[in-house]
Symmetry: D3
Subunit: 135 residues, 6 copies
């Protein structure tokens, strides 16, 4: 249950600024499916456009980090932030980009280990070694 | 300032269970430097061994995710958890494994974007699309 | 599913210390509806009273921050903490206090942006500018 | 200590894409001071521009939520996320926009109370009342 | 809905490395019930073994902190991390180890109070008193 | 560096409502030392009184959970929330109440393990077993 309405396709058709973003999402992803996140954001057309443009610039464009790694990093952040929807949607995206069961298993283990050492370091309040300072 | 003592090398020499782990850290990493995290954990030799063995199994062994990607995932979790020490130590590790400035810049952008969409999704309490369900 | 029982009205009637708080909640809010949060807390009558008195002092009393702004701040904290119940209940409270769709859209955008810059700052470990120091 | 370099003004002068954003920050804020956050982001000129444009659109433009309330919401999110730098910079911004000591005291109390009830709700796993559902 | 498959008993029977851990879980806990957490981890037999061995070493072995206190500490961390499943499973474990309603009520209050003062301290960015430094 | 002023003893003397709370803190703790947290809260005398009364009711009064266990639960929450000041102050309090090095080592291990399994469960989105439901 959302705290805001999720716009259906009929409603989207009537708001040109939203329609334009949805068209671009469909064209970019080569799929008719537009997930609920965008349907919630569509209540604020300017926000919808801002977030989508940003997501395209960071996640869609070819760049120094490969697309699957990007999705795994996204899952890692979403897990630590406890965003259930985000974990599901980006795990689906990672699988669509070829993540194997072995890679998923390892990703989960790395996230778990980081969770552990983050807590150990924080509980002990370990001070930074000078060797880690950026010159 | 730690909430526990950090064991120096002289002290480590006197505790065989700690000495054995420190020797293995040095041999595995081909470096004499043992960072403060292990010196704090060394107060509990069994915990030290457990955490180190686990870190070796997850982060050091060759596996389905490459070493640099592992470090970037680690940085992502540590950032979302706000563990300053962990961000510094794993950013140093990622650089030692070849992370370029461009890759670091992108990593930071992905983490930031995930932080944003995690918050947007949570504020709107977006319900899961059935398309994301694992069969 | 709660990890504790939620007290129904029949049970509340039998515990004077709980009944007194429920009566005050109903009188203060001018509504017969007492939400599940208080029904869970009611297992510990002293805690129920402590939390309710505090909520009255902070959220109900006229003060330097207007009631709608208070609810928006509450939603912001609850989102960053990932408390789904709290996001729902305080979004409902904010709407009851007049929050418009435009204000809700902006609130969501501010929360999202803060989520992003919080993550960017933490990933880069930006040091404090001396200009921000309180004199 | 940052995990990336902070670009000084001399360096900024040599990178037109960064220079353009810094000029806009200075013009928009009517101040010569550009804080460290932007100097870290400047390592990735496209990211710098993306984040700044977004911040302008959300925080600077006149809109349905007044400027001081926006800053208080920002402080609330940053506190729950534990971003020390962000708490300092947005508390300074809120004060510059007229936040009184009384308002700051109340803001702190609301954040504290939300932190408490978020934890209480989560520990008891309180289920959502149907009354809070968005129609 | 998990992001990975949960292995049923028939499948577990066919994977000796998983079967061995499940047998040990059942023997250690003196119960035939193996909860979903282990069924998800079982996708990666080495991770399953690592996590189970660690849980046994920390939570099962007799040690300086009694078993019920350990579970209450676990609930405290899980609440602050917002892990609903973990809160439920460890609250069940704590009750099985004798946690009374009064103790649960107090535990919830302590967690709530810590959540509050954590947020107050962070919002005010209180500097450490030298008296708290470990010598 | 705090985002608010910390009241010194001379200033406290001039504000009876603050003075009364400080006197009670000193009498309750049988110590002249009043730590910075209360000096920051003192900017808002009503908030100071509310938080102190609550802390007394939850942490000081004899009850179903012993004083040392209460402090360990407090450290656990504060660690997961990343509140450095709180970790330091409550670790000092736990030591003052008799926490041994062995107990501290175990506490750190439990917090770390919970951090790990919280992340594992969240990454895999493990669904609740019906066996954990409260009747």
């Amino acid at each position: 249950m959302a705290t805001t309405r999720l716009l259906g396709d009929a409603e989207v058709e009537k708001i040109p600024a939203v329609k334009a973003v949805f068209d671009d999402i469909r064209a970019t992803r080569k799929s008719d499916f537009v997930n609920n996140f965008w349907r919630g954001l569509a209540n604020d057309p300017a926000a919808l456009k801002r977030v989508w443009e940003q997501l395209k610039a960071v996640m869609v464009v070819d760049s120094a980090i490969d697309p699957l790694t990007k999705e795994m990093i996204y899952i890692a952040v979403s897990t630590a932030n406890g965003c259930s929807y985000c974990i599901h949607s980006h795990t689906a995206a990672a699988r669509a980009k070829g993540m194997t069961d072995a890679q998923h298993g390892e990703l989960v283990s790395i996230i778990g280990l980081a969770g552990q050492t983050n807590h150990l370091v924080t509980a002990m309040q370990i001070p930074l070694d000078p060797q880690f300072e950026v010159k």
